[in-house]
Assembly symmetry: C2
Homo-oligomer: 269 residues x 2
């Protein structure tokens, strides 16, 4: 292969690093890819770091020590978080979204690939330093955001289900009291997780917290600790389920079925 | 801002274009971003296109005419498709994966962010030229791959559900015969889609095709045409549901509950 020029190397490194956030690549990996010296790649990395900072596209970090190298992280400045979340809040306050029983119609937003990717990146940025071996969500609507969060953190996604499916193999099941006051079931395949792991919960909506508490109990059955929980939308005043709990948006309880007030979570900068 | 160097521009353009596959950016967009002349950005685009081709990272394309500009597409060479899919087939042939009733345990694979992203890109690359206004999937296990396909095609994702939820608002519902022979229900919010649109089905598993036929009927209720369907795994010999139907992997019917034979679909290069 002909000698690869700096601009070409930067384009490739930009692509490789951002395609797999939080994954560490050794400098040797790029040295081999471009048949270039370590000093050259080191300089490329510095230029890339500076460029990403200037254009607010996240962080290119050098990790030192054994297992070190370079990685990309979506830091809080990737998406301009506050205006992005404020825009979602505005959309949610549309009167047509209020559904019987004080619910808000969210489904469309939660299946827009651009929106869920930005939400996932936003949530991931807050949890880079929280110990977690996997992201836990409950089917169905939370899956897209949870998946994008998992991708941004370079962690597996584990999905709890509402029913036992033959194709899951052996499962552990618990009963829990849902928001509606009914007793419901939550199920997870035995082979999905391991004792002693840490879980980070990501879900779409929290009202009374029944489902979230169910997820914590389910994890307890497996000997797994829940180190954090983040919801796309939670109702103001609902009881905390874990200590490190956040919501991207907070909904005031809907009292008259006509007005929904939704605000960005206080941590959204 | 200081003058941005070529290498820095290439790093930023690489990041912006690959973060939103199939989305067209005008040259003016980048001219403004970098305070650079159109001829400069044009040259940058050519370098980027050549570099992406050399390193098999997909295609940077120039689209001419009104609404033209530059876009990134994951063409078939992004992932080295054949070895990637063969690797998945190998994993699926593990004896422990065979479940009662001739099912295969797939859930772990379908919630690995890296795997589903590659699957989504692989599927998307086959459907760039198929008319589709949205990706349709059925909850639950197909959602991650369907979402990644939708992201790669820059299309919305629409999720059909097995039950009616209060928070969905008005829904259209149909009954269909599932693989197990039971009559099941499928439901979609009225506001999710519009008459006259085209749908591309992406789902995890097809056996008898009952669910897929259900999805086609559901679309017919809305006056929507299904222009293609792609499954992660389908059982060999199952009847086609739409003309343009593909599977990433094909499973021979499991006869003795001991051996699963899984091969890449014929279209996987």
């Amino acid at each position: 292969m002909d000698k690869v020029k700096r601009g070409e190397r930067l384009a490739v490194m930009s692509r490789v690093l951002t395609a797999t956030p939080n994954k560490i690549y050794t400098l040797s990996y790029f040295c081999e890819m471009f048949s270039a010296a370590k000093s050259t790649i080191s300089e490329d990395t510095a230029i890339l770091a500076r460029t990403f900072r200037t254009f607010r596209m996240g962080t290119i970090e050098t990790v030192t020590g054994a297992g070190g190298g370079v990685r990309y992280r979506m830091s809080g400045n990737v998406v301009n978080a506050r205006p992005f979340v404020s825009g979602l809040c505005q959309r949610l306050m549309d009167r047509d979204r209020i559904l019987p029983g004080g619910y808000l119609y969210l489904s469309d937003m939660l299946s827009e690939p651009d929106t869920v990717r930005q939400l996932g990146e936003l949530i991931a940025a807050e949890y880079y330093d929280t110990p977690a071996d996997f992201i836990l969500t409950m089917e169905t609507k939370g899956i897209p955001v949870a998946l994008e969060t998992a991708a941004a953190l370079h962690l597996p996604l584990v999905i709890a289900r509402r029913s036992i499916k033959v194709y899951e193999g052996g499962t552990v099941n618990i009963s829990y009291v849902s928001g509606g006051g009914q007793i419901e079931m939550m199920s997870l395949p035995k082979r999905a997780v391991q004792q002693g792991q840490n879980a980070l919960i990501v879900d779409d909506f929290k009202r009374g917290g029944g489902t979230a508490r169910g997820m914590v109990s389910l994890m307890a059955e497996f000997g797994i600790k829940v180190t954090g929980a983040c919801f796309v939308l939670s109702v103001r005043g609902s009881q905390r389920v874990v200590e490190d709990e956040k919501a991207v948006m907070v909904l005031d309880p809907i009292v008259d079925n006509r007005t929904a007030t939704v605000r960005p979570g206080a941590w959204i900068k």
